[in-house]
Point group: D2
Chain length 337, copies 4
């Protein structure tokens, strides 16, 4: 049982089948039939007109998407633990032509509206000496496995708008969030004032595709130019498209995510039974557990793979469940190890 990350899981069968079925010649660079269905498919999914620009990695989706919302002189306000701040090299400045990350803290990996409001009020000097924030970015589900509820996203969106700023969401695990919240995807995106969403699929059953969802379709030209310049425009673009179409067909994205979430909850209970303690109340498919070295060693010997997470604490470990995690075997763990 490998819980080291959700990116250790393979392609799920439906998406592999879609790749295999794309065996005809097709026009390149997004002019093929599958690619041309993307806007409609995601407009349906979100209940509003969106433009879709797919790329092969979540980092590319974040960086290319953000680049449309911030000037070379501006800042992106985010949580200190945000993936864009901690795990994407100097990519925000690279794609943003110098744009700066401006971080604040917040409990359980979440920005809080009041903190954000004070931060934006203090940092936005409307000047040229310092860097004014121009965009607020949150991660949903967060890097700590927690999930902003609908009201929380709406409140962050309102604060962001009140300060005249753009709103971006890193949705590498967006499916896990929607599945957990049982909300409509609109509720935590455009209805909360979101401009751009990085809609993850890679971690949740795809081979390699995340979609930049533009709730303001007029951003498409700029985003497509940034994608091309970044080397992210696939010539065989249909192979990105068919992954995404299969991913949203018949709610596969939500089914996969629900499976992973349920597996994570089950794992949490199993580990608690064995003596571990959750650092945050798990809501999606990521767990951060405090446990003794003895328990960790015991789990390893039983075949579980997972990683230490020292940024949370010396006794903290991360477990990530996937679309194909064996739920029954997880539930049986307290009895079987």
């Amino acid at each position: 049982m490998n819980f080291s990350s959700d990116n250790v899981s393979p392609i799920c069968p439906e998406i592999l089948a879609a790749i295999g079925a794309a065996s005809e010649a097709a026009l390149p660079y997004g002019a093929d039939d599958a690619s041309r269905q993307l806007d409609a498919a995601f407009s349906d999914l979100f209940g509003t007109t969106v433009a879709v620009v797919p790329v092969a990695t979540g980092t590319a989706a974040n960086l290319v998407g953000l680049s449309a919302l911030v000037s070379p002189f501006g800042g992106v306000a985010c949580h200190e633990a945000a993936h864009i701040n901690r795990t994407e090299s100097t990519g925000v400045a690279f794609y943003g032509n110098g744009a700066k990350l401006m971080t604040m803290d917040g409990p359980s990996g979440k920005l809080e509206p009041a903190t954000l409001d004070a931060f934006l009020a203090r940092e936005n000097t409307h000047g040229m000496h310092s860097v004014d924030p121009e965009c607020v970015a949150i991660t949903q589900a967060t890097e700590f496995g927690t999930i902003y509820d609908v009201d929380e996203v709406q409140a962050i969106g309102k604060t962001t708008r009140d300060h005249g700023m753009k709103f971006f969401m890193d949705g590498a695990r967006f499916a896990n969030a929607v599945a957990a919240l049982e909300c409509h995807p609109a509720d935590i995106t455009w209805k909360a004032g979101l401009d751009v969403l990085s809609f993850g699929a890679t971690k949740n059953g795809a081979m390699a595709v995340d979609a930049i969802i533009l709730f303001d379709p007029s951003l498409r030209g700029r985003v497509e130019k940034a994608r091309k310049r970044g080397g992210h425009l696939f010539s065989k673009h249909r192979y990105l498209a068919v992954q995404l179409l299969a991913y949203v067909k018949d709610d596969l994205w939500l089914r996969n995510a629900s499976h992973a979430n349920i597996a994570a909850q089950a794992l949490c209970r199993a580990l608690e039974t064995l003596g571990a303690r959750a650092a945050f109340t798990p809501q999606g498919n990521e767990l951060f557990m405090h446990m003794t070295d003895e328990l960790a060693e015991h789990l390893r010997k039983a075949g579980l793979v997972f990683r230490p997470w020292p940024s949370i604490g010396p006794d903290a470990w991360r477990f990530v469940a996937s679309w194909n995690s064996p739920i029954e075997a997880i539930r049986a763990l307290p009895q079987t190890i």
Copy 2:
């Protein structure tokens, strides 16, 4: 029969099978078994120790690879028609942190050593006001379907080295060149002084992978950082690796390329029989043909797909054959249309 580009062709069966077979959990970011075989596989293929850094697109392979060979204040000398100059947006400056393209002309899409020598002598002022070239880049096979022979690459390499510069090759159709030259891949790479090769697979049967081949493995750290920052590091890195391993196994890359080359030669003869004239002597899988509008229309009605190519002339058209082009049907064209 679709000759609009080699990127209209689908994944070839061997590579699709390799993707499907990668169904186990595997470590991310290149730590998996398949990824760890890449260096050895390509070191075998080239007959020298290389480091391999795969990415999903040819543009990314070019831009990330080149970025290791030029400073923010330097230039990349290339043919005016080079893909990096004409078809990759402002990507060279982007990944090169400002590095400049410096172009010269040459017959049939090729740089000539004497022209290059004079160009480098004139432009390299060892100063700070103007831009000194720091790297020479060629495309093999060229953008005009021609191929540098072994002596030509060696001569370009020598001139480049004589001026103290780095040497890069855009090998989006490297397989077609090696297949046509019937040489060892070493002959037109490290034995000619090449530093970095962008080794194409996408156009020749893969889904989406090109490999940055570093003949100086000490460049790996810098290239991997540039790849990560550019958003090109796959989490499910094994899906890049298995494509490449299948591509070089049992000479699939050369078999696919030979097929495409033969198809292109056959198509050239068929079109000449029908009254067209080749703009350049075709050597790889790309043809540029002069023909009347009447003939073009006739071919279209017969089901051939191909594109006008006005940069060569108002009556010029491009045809590109692929790993799966139907050679017999192509040979029969003069009789069947």
Copy 3:
């Protein structure tokens, strides 16, 4: 007699006096009285409302000014010999966040409208793969000492506008052009559709100041941010302002330039008398002369300082006259050496 460049000349007395007179405490960063007079002074000079952003060097004026007219994905079309292309490192890409120089040739250092029109028509593909030109830049007076007449600037401006592009002028020697043309500065700037002018003063009697003149004052915010980020915002901004105010007061800028132009014409006649031949008909303060090595050596021994200019020819030399060149002594040269 030093003709190696106009930047070898010292500060002219009026401007030195203005620097010395600025001895009071004054608010920094442009909030002082002198700085606040700049917009009005230059709006008067040009006969239209302009915004003025001063910097200390001509390269900074070009690069910061251009950066407001081109996107990171776009190109700046200019003459191959343009200072921005040949003598400003990779600065256009640096300040332009990747923007690319796209060059064409033209007689006597000038772009020709028909050439420009064909160039823009061919290069502007409205696409994302290649780089579309977004701005046209000319140098007035040109790098070869020639001067676009009013009709020529108007024609370039019209062609530029017809293609929907922005228009920039490198006016490092703008004063010499206006003095030679005896036109109103409006005639070759905003009345020709110019967006941004780099208005030179350093070469013509100032210590170190060139002004970015924005004929679209709404560009000010972006330009000021680019200036600050580039490190070009003076804290003691008044010392830029007082130089500029003194420079335009009582037509000092035109008097200095006329002096230099007359000196250059006189030098041309003197050198022709001695056997040299002008490469271009000199109009401003720069001369490019063909002459024998013997004559060059003779002139050197007589105390003249000047530079070889191999890009024009192996027997070509450049002479630049300044605001303080000794006209009478120049006229007497054929008799005195």
Copy 4:
């Protein structure tokens, strides 16, 4: 009495005289006699061989100097209040081609060795996902008017070296620090392992010049290219050089700084007598005082100019003394207002 900043003060007489005396023709771009004396003058001053690259602003000195010490993928560790972090737009990323600021807190505007040590240990992952710090930057005197003593700089330098990193100092008020410490300038620079110093003059009597001092002269080529590309290379370079030569001649830089420091100490005592309280023990020429609105208003009416400084507190104000602040009048303030 204007205490709003030290950049409100004019050029001091010695430097103005030096500018006026530079009335001969001189070679451009640093080839003149004055410019060629800089390396020797500053090597004397520091007691070691240095290379000197002057620019016109402190921001340029910081940004160009730092750019030689950090890669596009690396970070610059500094105090949260550092000028490079708070007051230089996105300049560090701009000149650093994406390099990131990584901040920590510390009392009185200073980094503490233990904090720095823990920060570097935690942040330097030797990886490619996150940003590794590559350089430590401190400000001397600090943004809060405090001054690292010799031992403190040495300790920061040792920690920096122990982690294998480069060491940079923003010395916009370096003169005030040396004057206050009564140390040799070597003690807080190269003897503490410093690589690059931004040596300020503008705030302390010059018109517009700060010098990048390279204690590793092999950095010169790279720094000069960055300066040129940034538009900071003066054609009339001698006007930068003569300011610097006059500034260090006969210890003018220290005399000016001592004057300003003494004035600030006197002002502090005067304001304390009037009821204000220093936020930090003032050591250089900057004061941050807590006081009532009534006292502030009283001072304003008496003709003092100074600025609120809300980042320290709602009742905090900044006062900056200069080379020409009237010490006797300051001492008399409690009696005269």
